[in-house]
Amino acid sequence: MADYERRHNGARGGRKRRYREDDDYDRRQRRRYEEPLVAKVRRQLLTIAESAARRADDDAVTIARSVTENFENEELRNTFIDIVLDLTLEQPLKIPFLATTVLVVNNLKSEVCSEVLQKAVNLLGEYLDAGAWREVKLLLRLLGCLQCIFEGDGIFPILDELFSRAVDLQTASSDDVLGLELVKIILFTIPYIMASPATGFEQQASALLEKTDVITSTPHALVDMVNPFAIGDGRTNAVQSVISLLQSQLQGESNRGWELACLPRPWKGVRINEEDEQPPAEFGPKCPLPEISIPNPVRAGKRAIYPEVHLSVYADQDIETVPPTSDIASSLLRDALVDTINILDFNRIATAKYLIDVDCYFTPHTFVKRATPFDRLRDIPGDRPTWKPEDVAVDAVFSQLFQLPSPEHKLVYYHSVLTECCKIAPAAIAPSLGRAIRFLYRSLDTIDLDLSHRFLDWFAHHLSNFGFTWKWSEWVDDLDLPLNHPRMAFITGALDKEIRLSFAQRIRGTLLDSYQSLITEGKEKDTPDFKYLEDTTPYANEGKELMQLIRKKATDEEIQPVIASIEEQAKGLGVEDPMLPSTDAFVTAICFVGSKSLSHVLSCIERNKERLLAIGPKSPAARRQIITSVMEYWADQPGIGINIIDKLLNYTILTPLSVVEWALVDKLDAGAILAKTHVFEMVSATVGKVTNRLRQIVAARTQPGLYEPQLSLLDETLKRENSDMQSLFNVIEDRVVSIASGSNDELMERGDGSGNLPEDEIIRQWGQRWLRAFRRMAGVEQAFIAEAMANATPVGTTAPPPENNTSAGDGDMDVADADASAQAAS
C-alpha cells in the first residue's frame, strides 16, 4: 500500500490529498478489475482453438474446471451449455474442441454434462422436425464426438434410423434428393465418431457403410445438371457426387484402420490433473443417450436440395496444394469450411478470419506454414503434405461461388469473403487467387455458361476492390483469338464490367498497350453521339425535332405530328412497318436526352410512358425496335443499355418475350450473339424477372389459410403465368438448339458452307452452353413449383365455419403482399 501511495502522490510532485482520507476509499480505487466468471468462461469458450499460441486442450480443462467447480452457479452453467450449442451450430470448425470440453466436464461432474446432452438432443429434435438438415448434421457431429460417454451403441442407432428414412425416400422415388441428403449426414458423422475417444465401433461403422453403398453408388439424374463443366473434354466427363466420393473415401479409411489424419484429437492432450501423463482412460461415467424421435416421413427443409459435386480450382497443378479427392481430407475440410462460410454470412470479416485460421482447427502439420510460396513447395520432402491452408480456404469459397444451380447466399457474399481474406492476409491470399483465376481462365471453353459469368462478375468486382491491378501480360497472346472465342469474350466482358464499376479512362490506365484498342473511343464518351445530328441519317430533321421536344418536356400532342411525319415518309419509301423508324427516332431521342444519368432517362421515360406503352400492342416488331434503339445508342456501354431495358420491362413497355426474341431471333446473327457476355446477362436477367414473379405467385397460392374463391383465382394466375414462362423457355430452346446442333440455316450458309470452320465449332459450343444453362433454369423452376404445390391447399377448399377460423389468414392477400410475407419469412 505504501508503494502505491508513493507512486500516486509522490512521483507527480505531491498531488494534493483528497478530501477523504480513509483507506477504504483508496482500496476500492486500487482493486484490479476482475472479469466476472461468467464473462470469462464465455470469452474462453467463444475463442477456443482460435489461437495457435494456446493449447486448446488446456483451455478445455480450464473451462470445464470453472464450470464444474461452480456448478451451483446456474447462470454460468446455462451460459456454458448455450455457448457450446451455439458454437456447434455457428462455428462447426470448433466442434471437436467443444466436445473435448464437454468430455472433461463429464469427467469432473457428469450432472452438468447430462444437462448439455439433454439440451442438445432437444435442439436436435426441433431441427429434425423442421427439416433443418445442416443443423441436424452439426448436432450429430457434436454427439458423435461424445460417443465414448454413451451406453451401448451411442448414436449409431440414430444413424441407422436416418438411413431407413433415406431408403424409404429412395424407394418411393428415383428422383429423391432428400434421402441423399440424409445419407450425406450419416457419412459426415461417421469420421467424427471414429476420430473420437470411443473405441470398438469399427464394426458398426463398416456395417453402416455397406448399407449406404447401395444409395451412393447409384448415379443420380441431377448430378449432371450441377456439373460445373458443360462441355466434356475427357478429363471432366464423369463427375462423382459428393456422397459417392465420400463413400469411397470412408471405405478406404475403414481399410486403413480409420486413420482420419486431418481430424484433430484435442482429447488426447487432456490432462485432468497437472501431474497426469495420459488423458483419462474414461471420460467420466457413461449415460444413455436421451431419446430422439425422427419424424416419419422426414420433412424437406426450406432450401431446395440438389446433389453436390466436388469442385477444386487447384485440381490440375503439378504440386498438390489442396487434398486430392482420393484423400478423405478433401471432403472433411471442405464440408467444415463450407458450413462455416454459409452460416456466418452475417459477418464476412469473421468468416474470412476463420478461413485464414483453418490450420488451427485440424491436426497440426496437416498444412504447410501459412503463406508458404507455391514455388517453395517443391523443396518440401516427399513424405510431408504440401497443402496450403490459403488454397484450401479459397477453394471452399470458390466451391460456393460456383455452386449449381445456385449457392445458399447471394453471389456478392462470396465476393466479399474473398475480398476480406485478401485484406486480412494479402501476401498469403493474393497468389492463391491468382492461381485460381488462371485455372478458371483456362477452363473458360468448357465451364458452364452461368459459371463463366459468375467468374467474370467476381473477377471485375474483386479487381475494383484492389486498384484494378491484374497481370494482363499473361493473356496477351490470347488477344489474337477470334472475338467470339470464350477467352476473348471473357477479356472484353471483364473490361466492360470494370468500366461499369469505374470509368473507361481509369481502366485504360491499368492496361498494357496491346489491350488499349479494346477500350474504344466511344467508351470514354459520357454522352454518345445522337445519330440524327448527322444530316445523312434518314429522318434527321424529325429526329432532331423530337429530341428538342423531349428535352423541353413537350406534351404528347406536340410529339405526335413529328412521329406521324416520319411514318408518312417511311410509307412513301415503301418501309413495311413505318412504326420502326418512328420508334427508333423517338427512343433514340429519349436515350440522348436522358444520357446524363439513369434518373434522367427514367424521368424521360416516365413523361413519355403512355406513348411507349402504346407501341408494343400496335406492333411487336416496333416493341423490339425499342430494344434495338436503346442498345445501339449505348453500343459502347452496353451495361447502361441493359439497365434501361430492365427498367422498360418494369414499366411493361417491353415484355420478357420481346427481349428474348430480340436477342435470339432478330439479332441472333447465326449464333454470333451468343458469345456476347452482356446479351447473356440481359436474357438471364429477363428470365430471372419472370421466374421471380412466378415464385411470388406460388408463395401467394401456397400460403396457409387460403380459401375459395381466392384459391381458384390465384390458381388460374399461376397456371397462366407458368405457361407463359414455359413458352419463354421454349423460344430460347428452339432458337438455341439449332445453333448447338449446327443445323441453323444461316450458320450453315456462312463461310464455305461446310459448317466446319473453326469459328463454327466455337459457336456450336456457345449454343450448347446456352442450352444447358437455360434448360437448367427451366428445370429448377418446374421442380420448385412441383415441390411447393405438393403441399398446397387444393382448389375448392372452402373456409371452415367461422368459430374455428381464428388465426388463419384472411385469404385476400394479393401477390404483392405475398411477396412481402415471403420475404419476411425467409
Binding site: E90, K302, F346, N347, K410, V412, H415, S597, Q823
Partner: protein, 175 residues
C-alpha cells in the same frame, strides 16, 4: 436456419452507432417519465440505405452496378449540394425488400466503390429534402472541417478553404 438468441460473432446487419446515438432519448433526465411502450422500430422493415463516403465523381450508374448485386433497386437518390445541385458524396439506395437491404449492409458496406471504402447504414426511408447536404456551404457537414486533403471530395474542408482564402487575401497569395 439456426435462429440463435445471441450470435457467437457480431452481426454486420445492425444499424450503426451513429443511427442509434442520433435517436437515443435522453435517458439520464430524472424528471421525465420513461415512455410506457417501446415505440415500433422504424428500421424493422426498412428497405432504404444511406450510403456515405462516396466520391463526388461517382455516378448513379456505378452505384447501380454495385448495389444491384444485392437485389433489384427500386429507387436511387443522389445526395446533392444544397446550392450547386451537384453530387456531394452520399446517396440513398432503396430496395424492394428488407432482406436485400440487410444483405447490402452485410456484403457491400465497408467494401470499395470507385476505389473508396463506402459506408452503408439502414435508414427509415427517404424523405424529400434529405437529398441535400446539411453543411454550411451546401455539402455534407463532414466536408466542412476536414483537415486532410481528399481529392474525391473537393480537397480540404470547405470551412478551411474559406479561411485559407481570407488569409490569402489579407497576406497575399503564395505565402
Amino acid at each position: 436456419m439456426a435462429i440463435l438468441t445471441r450470435n457467437t460473432v457480431d452481426r454486420l446487419d445492425r444499424p450503426s452507432a451513429y443511427y442509434i446515438s442520433k435517436n437515443k432519448r435522453r435517458k439520464y433526465s430524472q424528471d421525465e417519465e420513461p415512455p410506457k411502450e417501446e415505440a415500433p422500430d422504424p428500421l424493422s422493415n426498412a428497405t432504404t440505405l444511406y450510403v456515405g463516403n462516396l466520391s463526388f465523381y461517382t455516378t448513379e450508374e456505378q452505384i447501380h452496378e454495385l448495389f444491384s448485386k444485392c437485389g433489384e433497386i427500386k429507387r436511387l437518390v443522389m445526395g446533392l449540394d444544397r446550392f450547386n445541385k451537384t453530387p456531394c458524396g452520399f446517396c440513398f439506395v432503396e430496395y424492394y425488400t428488407h432482406q436485400d437491404a440487410l444483405d447490402c449492409l452485410k456484403y457491400i458496406g465497408g467494401t470499395k466503390l470507385d476505389e473508396r471504402i463506402i459506408r452503408t447504414d439502414l435508414d427509415p426511408g427517404f424523405e424529400e429534402g434529405r437529398q441535400y447536404g446539411r453543411g454550411k456551404s451546401g455539402g455534407q457537414v463532414r466536408d466542412e472541417y476536414r483537415e486532410e486533403y481528399d481529392p474525391g471530395r473537393g480537397g480540404y474542408g470547405r470551412a478551411y478553404d474559406a479561411q485559407r482564402e481570407r488569409e490569402e487575401e489579407e497576406y497575399g497569395a503564395g505565402k
